[in-house]
Symmetry: C2
Subunit: 204 residues, 2 copies
DNA sequence: AAATATTAATTAAACGTTTGTTTAATTCAA
DNA sequence: TTGAATTAAACAAACGTTTAATTAATATTT
């Protein structure tokens, strides 16, 4: 159904821009060029639309991570590097959607939806965690705190995604600069994360 | 004015719990045990109330950081350790308010308010940045990326604050566990951040 | 193949709530 | 008695949702 997907993509855009509560069905319908009644007709309610939005985007990263985890040709260090690259590339390419999820986690308007998002996040992070733990077992990694190492990895990227203008102020760039699409910044972020994790994880 | 402060403190609580858009004036008035008209009477509007909330809490951390920065009796490493401790202690003690700010940064409902919050954040982080840069000049620190090092530091804590239930899932604790008040977890977070920054910052 | 019946998609209008805000009256304190 | 504090009620606007009517598309029957 083409029109449903169209509504979802507009919803992603608006929710990211104005938040879930801040986006009205009428505005959404207008921007998507459909009648207001179509949202109820297709999704049932505004809440259900949000669930559809999450479902639509969910578990994309999961496939990538699972394949990476079972790759026999890569060392744990190489796997971590690959994870850093895919995460940075993925999140910097879709900053809007990632912000929607964060918003819902912060607001927790609908408990069950928050839990749903959390479980998606945790599934992905658990894959990374197991790679770190395997590295520790093989003694290529130091005995770090795997859970908090995860928090540092994802948290660094999330911090950058939190606010474009804050990111720009930190980088001392003008507010017309878009760090998320800038290739230089993307590489800079990847380099920082790799250097930091290497310094912390690797036994000398 | 005692009642104004009372309203602000209830607003912090509710905004953090349900978001700005998700909190209605009537609900707020009911919880604060004041008439709905009192919010307009004291603050002018709901938006202005939010500004008052930000103003009320703003630049508390700034004093602590500034004093720390100019302390002659501490090495750069000790300063970084002290910063980690105060940040973790401060943010874990007020998770709610910190979430309100994040929400506003994500939603950006009122552009000027977001910019205001950003400038407070950036002022604080710049102090830390200058400490890192001084450490690099004195060659006790490696030539790291100061801006992204900041993002990793704050981002790690923010990631933990993002969602209590996600934090618990990561730590494999039940959902009745409150990581933010747990002394063990607080120390664990501080230890992780210190070890990670030492590993990355310090020249061997 | 044409005509009919059936289902799906789409619409404009209205629904009842809830929203933030204001009014006008009243209470309270100085 | 003057001015601020507080109240209940009303305001218009916006909200998510539903309705009932209409159009478009699909299936069935002749």
């Amino acid at each position: 159904m083409d029109k449903k997907e169209h509504i979802i993509s507009i919803a992603i855009e608006l929710f990211a821009q104005k938040g879930f509560e801040g986006t009205s069905i009428r505005e959404l319908a207008a921007k998507a060029d459909v009648n207001v009644a179509m949202i109820s007709y297709y999704f049932g309610s505004k809440d259900k639309l949000f669930e559809a939005v999450v479902e639509y985007k969910a578990s994309y990263m999961k496939g990538i991570l699972e394949e990476l985890a079972k790759d026999k040709n890569k060392t744990e260090t190489e796997k971590m590097d690959a994870i850093i690259e895919s995460y940075v590339n993925r999140l910097l390419s879709n900053p809007s959607f990632h912000r929607v999820l964060h918003q819902e986690l912060l607001v927790q308007h609908r408990k069950d939806l928050s839990e749903h998002i959390v479980s998606i996040f945790v599934k992905n992070t658990n894959i990374i965690k197991s790679i770190i733990e395997q590295g520790i077992r093989k003694k290529v990694f130091r005995k770090v705190d795997p859970e908090l190492m995860m928090a540092s990895l994802i948290g660094t990227i999330d911090q950058v995604l939190l606010s474009r203008s804050m990111c720009n102020m930190l980088l001392q760039k003008g507010n017309d600069f878009d760090p998320y699409t800038d290739e230089k910044f993307r590489k800079r972020l990847i380099t920082h994360l790799k250097l930091m994790t290497h310094a912390y994880l690797l036994n000398e």
